[in-house]
Symmetry: C2
Subunit: 118 residues, 2 copies
């Protein structure tokens, strides 16, 4: 059984859609590393369809696309994170880190003093 663990999730919403959150950020990074949606999905043990849907949502929520795709061609096509996407990712990660740092101490106390030990 894993140790008691505190996680902060920051999700940015646009209307009712989740523009970005932990999962989408990870997916962006996987695309950056693999160069395709399908390879990124495989590496995250996620269905291609699900990955494609997440990217589609992001591309619709942000002012500019975060991922560029190419169908056909060398290797059958591929996908790349855009410079704008890199910016989105960087700033999201920054916000995540700020929140985590701000509560780190109190979270530690909370889990130590209040949660049942496992």
């Amino acid at each position: 059984m894993p140790k008691a663990l505190a996680k902060t999730r920051i999700r940015v919403l646009l209307g009712s859609a989740f523009a970005i959150g932990p999962g989408k950020a990870d997916l962006l990074q996987a695309i950056e590393q693999t160069g395709s949606i399908s390879a990124a999905a495989r590496s995250m043990d996620m269905s291609y369809r699900r990955a494609w849907l997440l990217i589609d949502t992001m591309n619709q929520c942000f002012r500019q696309p975060v991922v560029d795709t190419a169908t056909g061609g060398k290797g059958g096509g591929g996908a790349q994170i855009t410079p704008f996407g890199r910016l989105v990712l960087r700033r999201y990660r920054l916000i995540e880190a700020q929140a985590a740092a701000a509560i780190a101490h109190d979270i530690k106390l909370f889990t130590r003093e209040l949660l049942r030990s496992r």
Copy 2:
């Protein structure tokens, strides 16, 4: 259509179970105000079963029960938040507020500059 909105959710996990999060915290407050699980559930437009399940999870995750219940008796019974539950709630709200304050500025920039307007 609602305006672009950023929400930070802090959920504290124990093992794989969510010990506490925004919904459970609200439920605790509703019980504090109403004095019963069923009235709290009604006030939140939630099924009694669901509310009971959430409370049960909390009571199992924390070192002490956060809610005391009584079956039968005056009014059929009822439920009260324990002093320990009040402590849990207060400290959870504090953590929530700290995280929100830490990222408020950057979240504002993020939504203004990066998100598509609605």
